[in-house]
Each structure stands twice: as structure tokens, then as C-alpha cells.
Amino acid sequence: MTEILKLHNLGKSFGAITVANELSFGLKQGEALGVLGPNGAGKTSMFNLITGTLKADKGTVTFDGKDVTRMSAADRCRAGIARSFQVPQPFVGMTVFENAMVAATQAADMKGSAAKQHCLEVLEQTELLHRANALAGTLTLLERKRLELTRALCAKPKLLLLDEIAGGLTEAECVSLISTIKKIHKSGVSIIWIEHVVHALLAVVDRLVVINFGEQIAEGDPDTVMKSKEVQEIYLGIDANG
């Protein structure tokens, strides 16, 4: 399998604060990777570096065989990287359907009835169809999270970045979100998912990366990574055996 994304020695600092330090890992085509780490570990910054919202100080980001390190966020999205934001960023003055249309027409370059059809299909998949005409500013938290997912999917991504999309949801809401994400993964989209709701993450991902202070501290098979003493101590802040 070919690699869809490769980070090589990625580094970024804001003065004395390092948000990424020699981050290097790859993502295979069609793989789902989970990212764990305490608050402030640099997870969202890593997403910002991958999507181009932040520019790296050093290192490279390779996507789909191309070096995209110098590309703008907009160009990277058009190349196939779509994300959901941790704090939902809806276009509040537009309806849910219009939010989806922005992604379909601008990111995926679709036109006319093809774009509309695509948006309807995605809205059905993300269970937001019944709110299609609602202004995005009037949505509940769950609906806003689903709108983040909807927009990212309407962009027809090759790589989908999910940032704490299950955070703050009830158990029932979480279950239905997991099944939606599983379906997306099955359709062949590569996924990187940052999540504190660990059971949700483990239900979907093939592999885990753990980050702290901008550095990768563990990586590999989810079960092994979760059981490793290092991760339990650093990420959970407790000694599981003690």
C-alpha cells in the first residue's frame, strides 16, 4: 500500500513553546489513525500543520506523492485534505445545505446538479438532512459537529482529519457518530482522528499515535499502545498498576 500522507521531521514553535518537535509518521492509503495526547500536547497544531493553517518552521509534509509544505490551506484542501474543527466553525448566516454547497463547489470543484446531489447524499449519510434548510447558527452542538463532518465530506477528501468530533456528545449520539465514521472509512477515505473519547477512537482506528509536548511518544497497534506503561503514565497521568 502506498502512503497518502508523510510527515518528516516537522517542527513548529511559538517563541519558547514548541507545538511540534521532529514529528515523523506516515499514513497508508485507506488507513485510519488515532491520535491521543493530553490537552496542549500539540494535536490540533499538528492538524493545522497538515492542513496548512499553520506553516511549519522545519520539516516537510508530503501528501499523495507531492510536497505540500509550502502550499496554502485552500490549495491543500483542493488537493484532497479536509478537516473538521474541534470548535465548530459553521457559516452561521447560511443554511446547512448552503454550508455543504460551499465545500462541494469550492473544494471539490463540483457544479450544478452534481454538486446538489452530492450534498444531499452526504447530508443523508451524516443524518442532517432533516435540518437542511436550518440556519447553521441555530444548530445544537451535535448538529454542529455533524455539520463539520458534512462539510469535510462534501469536499470529497482523500484524507479526512477529525478533531475531537465525539467530544461533548451523549453516549447514544456517540454510538451513531461512530457508525457514520466507520462507513466513511469503509468507503476508502483515509482518516486521522484526534479524540479523548478513547472507546470511540478504538472502535474505528487501525493504529494509534500518542503525542506529548509536540513529540511522538508512542506509536503502533491500538491495544499495545494503550497497554504500554509509558502511555498510561504520561497520557492518563496515573500509574495503572500502582
Binding site: T53, A74, P90, F91, V92, G93, M94, T105, K116
Partner: protein, 342 residues
Amino acid sequence: MSIENMHVTRRSKASLIASFAAVIILVILISAPLWAGRADMRLMAELFLYLSLATLWNLMAGYAGLVSVGQQAYVGFGGYMLFSLTMFAGLSPVVALIGVAILGGLVSIPIAALVFRLHGAYFAIGTWVIAEVFRLTFAQVSSLGGGSGTSLPISIIKSMADGRAARESLSYWLALGVMVAVILAVYLFLRSRKGLALSAIRDNELAASSLGINIWRTKFLVYVITAALTSVVGALIFLQKLRISPDAAFSVNDWTAFVIFIVVIGGIGTLEGPIIGTLVYFLMRETLADLGTTYLIALGVVAIVIMLKAPKGLWGIIRDRWDLQLFPLGYRVQTTQSKKGS
């Protein structure tokens, strides 16, 4: 709910009625020279030109987030270019309007490159400074009358049409035509793919850039289009006045402050807002202007009350109450009614 029996439409009953009403109003306005007096036509032409300025400023500030207080630069530039092209290049005023649009667009390109380096309040001040530079520059051109300005030569005025009545009708129709062209252009732009991108930028720049929208390029395009059309409106304003001077041409009060008032009270970020705002402004001006200072205080009070009580403007109140959209810019997902039932 299944997507097989759903479809997406951009029209609504309100927008159909509105477009029908717009056609009727337009026919009545076109025929104004038959029924309106000279002073009324002049007032209406002024209203059309203010509505054009407001629609353009709204596109820039309300959608692209470019809050400029320097659009008088292009109003004045357009006026001076019309005078120059007719006086020195010998063009007829109507043909000169096309040249004014092109020159206005061209001159805005280096200015955009300059002022786009500034953001927020700095951008606003920057555009104002540029407008002052324009005013001081044109005051230096002695062939255009320098600081005291110049009048359009009688030969050029006479070349427009035979007789005073015909000239005034032409002048009126040009103002009406430009207003229709500006509203139609802005409407079609907002309805297009680029317009969808612009609405996204209006609501959330971070999300817009993450969805493949090149924010700088979109704003640049809006700035240049707005500058070109504002120059044409400026040319017509001074074609009505037949006289131009740097202070009148680059007046921040006349061409930006009142325009901002119109857009803010009408409803910024909507196409309908500037129309309502212009009507309210002219209503107030025509009924209260005799009161002098009191009139300006009244304008200020209205602006403050609306900003506090209805930040989305008068159109915002109407839209929220009745879910109206006269210009069909949005998309509505509807369930197709099956006649057989299911």
C-alpha cells in the same frame, strides 16, 4: 426522509413576486420623463446613484469584510476621468463611461496590493489616506482647474443630446441604467460559485480557507470590480452636476459616510438592505433637511438606535419575522409532492 423524493430549488414565492414587481417598477421608472418634473427626475437620479454606491459598498464591506472609508477615491477618480476623456480625448460622455470603468479597475489594482497589507481599522484608515492622496493629486492638475475645479465645456454637454429636455432624460436614464446594472451585477456575482465563496468568507474566514477558498484572491476580485463600478457611478454623479472640484469629488461625507449610514440602517450583508436604507435616507433628507443641524442629529440618532436595537438593520428585522428573501440567492431543499401518495 429519503433523497429520492427531494429536490433543491433557489426560487421562492416571495422572490417570484419580487421579480415581477421589480419589472413593473422598472417600466414605471423608465417612463419617468413622460410623467415626472425636472426636479423630481434629478432627485430620482441622485437616489439611483446613491443606491448604486450603497450596493457596491455593501458588497465590499458586508460580504468581503473590506470596511473601506475611502470609496470616495473612486467616485472622484471616475468623475475626473469622465471630464478628462471628454475634454482631452474627445470621447462622447456615454462612450467615456466604458473607459472610466476600465481605468477605475486598473488604478485599483496597485492600490489593492498596497491596502490589502492592512487589516481591520488599519485598512479603513489606509483607504481614507489613499483617497486624500487622490484629492491632493487632482488638485495639482492645472488643466483640470487645480484646486478650484472645472466645468464641463458647453460643447460637450450639447453633444449629448438635442435640447435640454432630451439631455436631462438621457442623464436620468443613464443613472437608472447604471443602478440596474450594478444591482444585477452584484446579484449575479453573489449567486455564482464565487458568490457562495464570498458568503462563506463573510461568515467565517478560517473555515472558508480550509474549504479551498482563496480568500485574498476573492477579496481582490471584489475590490477591483467594486472600484470599476464605483468609478462609473462617480462619473455619472459629476455628469449630473456638470462641474467637478477636488473637495466635492473626494468628499468623505458625501460618498462614504452617508453610504455607510444607508447600508447600516438598511441591513449590511444583504442585497435588500441598501435598497431599504436608500429609501429611508432620502425620505429623511427630503422631509428633514430644512431643519439644518437638527437633520444631521436625527440621522445620527437613527443610526445609533438601529445599531443598538437591530444590528442587522431594517431588512434584518423583516427577514427574521417573515423569513423573506427577495433576491433568490439561497438554496432550499424541498420534498417533491407525489400525486399518488405513498
